[in-house]
C-alpha cells in the first residue's frame, strides 16, 4: 500500500506530465517543461523530496523572523520618511521617493550590496544620517540574518537527527555494515597474501615512502606548472614521464596485491590509477606523435592537486578523522555510526540546485532574449556597466550564472538595475526579491547551516571520544585498585 506522501508525489508528477503534454498539443512550442522541471525532479527522487522537506521545515521555522525582517524594513521606511523628508536631493540620488523604492533599497542594504553608496548623498548633507543606516544594518544584517542562520541550524539538526533515527536508519546502518564488511574482506585478503606482496605493501605504506611520494608529487606539479627556463617542452614532458613512472609504483602495488572488488571500493586509489594511466598514455602519445598535443600535458599536473592536499588535510584534521569512526560506549543519545560529510553537503547543494532550477525556469520564460549585445548602448546611457549584458536569462546555463551572481549578492542591485532599465518597469524587481527571499535567505542558509552542523558534530564527537576514553581509564584504574585491595587482603 502506498503512503500518503508517495501518493501526493505521484499526483504532482502525473499532473505535471499532463500539463506538459496538453500545452504541447494545444499551443506547440511553449517550454512549460522549464517551470515544471523542478517539481517533477523533486517528486521522482526520494533524496530531493527529503531535502525539499528540510527546505520547507527551515522556511516555516523561520517564518516569524522573515515577518520581523519585513516589519523592520517597513518601520525604517516610516522613520526614514520622517527623517529625510526635509533633504533636497536630486531624484536619482534620493531613494526616499516612493514606498516601493525604499523597500527595495532597504532590502538591498540588508544584503550590504549597496552600502555605503546608498547613504552617501544623505551623509553629504548631514553626517548624523549614518546612524540611521547603522541602526538598520545592526537590526537586519547583524541580528535578524544571524538569528535566521542559528534557527535554521536548529531546524536542520533536528530534522537530520530524526531522519537518521527513522527513515534514514537502514541506509546509514547499511553503510556501516558495508564498511565493516570491507574491512573484514581487506583483513582476509592481507592474510592470504604471499610474503613478497606483504613486504611490498609494507614498503609503500611506510611513512618514509609516503613522504617521498608527497615530495615527488609537489616536484611534478611545480615543474609542469611553472615551466622553468632552460627546459623546452620535451624536457618537461620527460620529467613528467619519469616522475609518473616512479609514482605509479605504489599505486600498482596496491592495485595488484588486492582483489579487484576491494580496489573498486577505494575511490582515491581508483582516481590515482586513472591519473597514472592517463598521464602515461598522454605522455607517450605526445612524444611519439611529434608534439601536436603539447598543450594538454600541463593539465595533468592539476590532477596531482588531490595527491598533494590529501596528506596535508589528513595531518591537519587527524583528530576529527579519528573521531569520525569512533564508537563511544559511554555516551547516550547519539547514534554511533560513521559521520558522513560528503553525502550531506551534496544533498544541501542539490536543494540549492533545485531552487535555482525553479527560478531559472521562470527567469528564462520571463526574460529570454531581453538582453542582447545591442543592449550595451542602453545600459551605458542609463549609467550602468555595459558588460552586464553577459548576466542574462537567454539560456538555462546563462540563467544559472545570473542566479549564482545573485546568490553571492555582491552588486546584485546593479544586475537588477540592468533588467529594470531594459524591461522599463520596476515590477521586474519582484522576481529578484523573491529569489533573495527563497534562494538566498532559505536555500543558501541551509548550505551554511549544513557546514556549521558538520563542524559542531565533529567537535561533539571529539569531546565524546575524550570523555569516553576518560571513562574507560577510570573504570580500568578502579578495577586495578580493586585487584590490589583484594591482593593486599
Amino acid at each position: 500500500m502506498r503512503s500518503r506522501t508517495q501518493l501526493i508525489r505521484l499526483i504532482i508528477s502525473v499532473v505535471s506530465l499532463s500539463s506538459i503534454t496538453l500545452i504541447n498539443i494545444v499551443v506547440s512550442g511553449i517550454p512549460l517543461g522549464l517551470v515544471l522541471r523542478a517539481p517533477i525532479a523533486v517528486c521522482c527522487s526520494h533524496t530531493l523530496f527529503h531535502m525539499i522537506q528540510v527546505y520547507f521545515k527551515v522556511l516555516m521555522r523561520n517564518l516569524r523572523y522573515y515577518v520581523l525582517m519585513w516589519m523592520s524594513i517597513v518601520l525604517f521606511w516610516a522613520a526614514g520618511d520622517v527623517l529625510f523628508s526635509g533633504y533636497d536631493l536630486p531624484n536619482s540620488e534620493n531613494f526616499f521617493k516612493s514606498f516601493f523604492e525604499v523597500v527595495w533599497n532597504l532590502l538591498v542594504l540588508q544584503s550590504t550590496a549597496n552600502f555605503p553608496d546608498v547613504g552617501l548623498p544623505f551623509l553629504a548633507k548631514n553626517i548624523a544620517c549614518i546612524l540611521y543606516f547603522m541602526m538598520f544594518l545592526f537590526c537586519n544584517t547583524i541580528i535578524i540574518s544571524n538569528v535566521i542562520i542559528a534557527n535554521s541550524y536548529n531546524a536542520y539538526k533536528e530534522h537530520t537527527e530524526t531522519y537518521e533515527l527513522t527513515e534514514g536508519l537502514p541506509k546509514v546502518l547499511l553503510g556501516v555494515l558495508r564498511k565493516k564488511e570491507k574491512k573484514m574482506m581487506e583483513a582476509e585478503a592481507i592474510k592470504k597474501m604471499s610474503a613478497a606482496s606483504r613486504f611490498l605493501r609494507e614498503i609503500v605504506n611506510s611513512t618514509f615512502y609516503r613522504l617521498t611520494q608527497w615530495v615527488l608529487n609537489i616536484v611534478l606539479f611545480f615543474v609542469v606548472s611553472y615551466h622553468p627556463s632552460g627546459l623546452f617542452p620535451n624536457g618537461i614532458l620527460l620529467i613528467m614521464f619519469v616522475l609518473t613512472v616512479m609514482l605509479s609504483f605504489s599505486t600498482l602495488v596496491l592495485v595488484f596485491t588486492m582483489p579487484i572488488r576491494l580496489t573498486i571500493r577505494r575511490p582515491f586509489l581508483m582516481y590515482d590509477l586513472l591519473v597514472v594511466v592517463m598521464t602515461l598514455v598522454v605522455d607517450i602519445f605526445i612524444l611519439a606523435e611529434n608534439n601536436r598535443f603539447n598543450y594538454i600535458y600541463p593539465y595533468f599536473a592539476l590532477l596531482r592537486i588531490p595527491h598533494i592536499l590529501k596528506p596535508v588535510l589528513q595531518y591537519l584534521f587527524k583528530d576529527e578523522l579519528a573521531s569520525l569512526q569512533y564508537t563511544n560506549p559511554g555516551v547516550k543519545g547519539s547514534i554511533e555510526v560513521q559521520y558522513k560529510f560528503t553525502p550531506r553537503i551534496i544533498r544541501v547543494f542539490l536543494t540549492l540546485f533545485i531552487i535555482m532550477l525553479q527560478f531559472s525556469g521562470i527567469g528564462v520564460l520571463l526574460y529570454e532574449g531581453l538582453i542582447t549585445e545591442q543592449s550595451r548602448s542602453v545600459l551605458e546611457t542609463a549609467g550602468l556597466n555595459p558588460d552586464y549584458v553577459f548576466v542574462n536569462f537567454n539560456s538555462t546555463l546563462n540563467s544559472f550564472i545570473t542566479l549564482f551572481a545573485l546568490l553571492i549578492v555582491n552588486n546584485w542591485n546593479s544586475i537588477v538595475a540592468s533588467f529594470v532599465v531594459l524591461t522599463g518597469t520596476r515590477l521586474t524587481r519582484l522576481y529578484f526579491m523573491l529569489f533573495y527571499m527563497f534562494g538566498v535567505l532559505v536555500a543558501y542558509t541551509i548550505v551554511v547551516t549544513c557546514i556549521i552542523e558538520s563542524v559542531v558534530s565533529l567537535a561533539e564527537r571529539k569531546k565524546a571520544q575524550i570523555y569516553g576514553q576518560q571513562e574507560v581509564r577510570k573504570s580500568h584504574s578502579a578495577k586495578i585498585k580493586e585487584k590490589m585491595v583484594k591482593a593486599v587482603r
Binding site: L17, I23, C44
Partner: protein, 102 residues
C-alpha cells in the same frame, strides 16, 4: 555476520526504550535481506536516476553559448521545438513509470 549486531546494540543503548530495542535488535543478515527486498532493482534505480539527470540537464545542452561542447550537442540544439517537447514528455513518463511502478 557479527558486526551488524554491534552497531544495532549501540543504537539500542542510545534509545533506552524497550520497544525500540526489539525493533532494532535484529541480525545483520536478516536486516540486509529485508532492506534489499524493499529496494528497487539496482538497474532500474540507476536507469531512472540517469533519465532524471538527463531530463534536468537537457535544456542546458539545448542552448549552449558556444565552443566545443556546443558542437557535440548540436543535434539537441537543432531539434524542432515540438520534437524536443515530446522528448521531454516521453522522458517524464518513463521516469514516473520507473520511479512509481517498477
Amino acid at each position: 555476520m557479527t558486526f551488524g549486531r554491534h552497531v544495532l546494540t549501540i543504537s539500542q543503548q542510545s534509545n533506552g526504550n524497550n520497544m525500540e530495542e526489539e525493533r532494532l535488535t535484529v541480525s545483520s543478515t536478516s536486516f540486509l535481506e529485508e532492506t534489499a527486498e524493499k529496494q528497487q532493482p539496482v538497474r532500474t534505480r540507476w536507469l531512472s536516476r540517469l533519465l532524471l539527470v538527463a531530463f534536468v540537464l537537457l535544456p542546458i545542452f539545448r542552448k549552449l553559448p558556444g565552443g566545443d561542447l556546443r558542437n557535440c550537442t548540436a543535434f539537441i540544439a537543432e531539434l524542432p521545438n515540438t520534437v524536443y517537447c515530446w522528448i521531454e514528455v516521453v522522458l517524464v513518463a518513463l521516469i514516473i513509470l520507473l520511479r512509481h511502478y517498477v
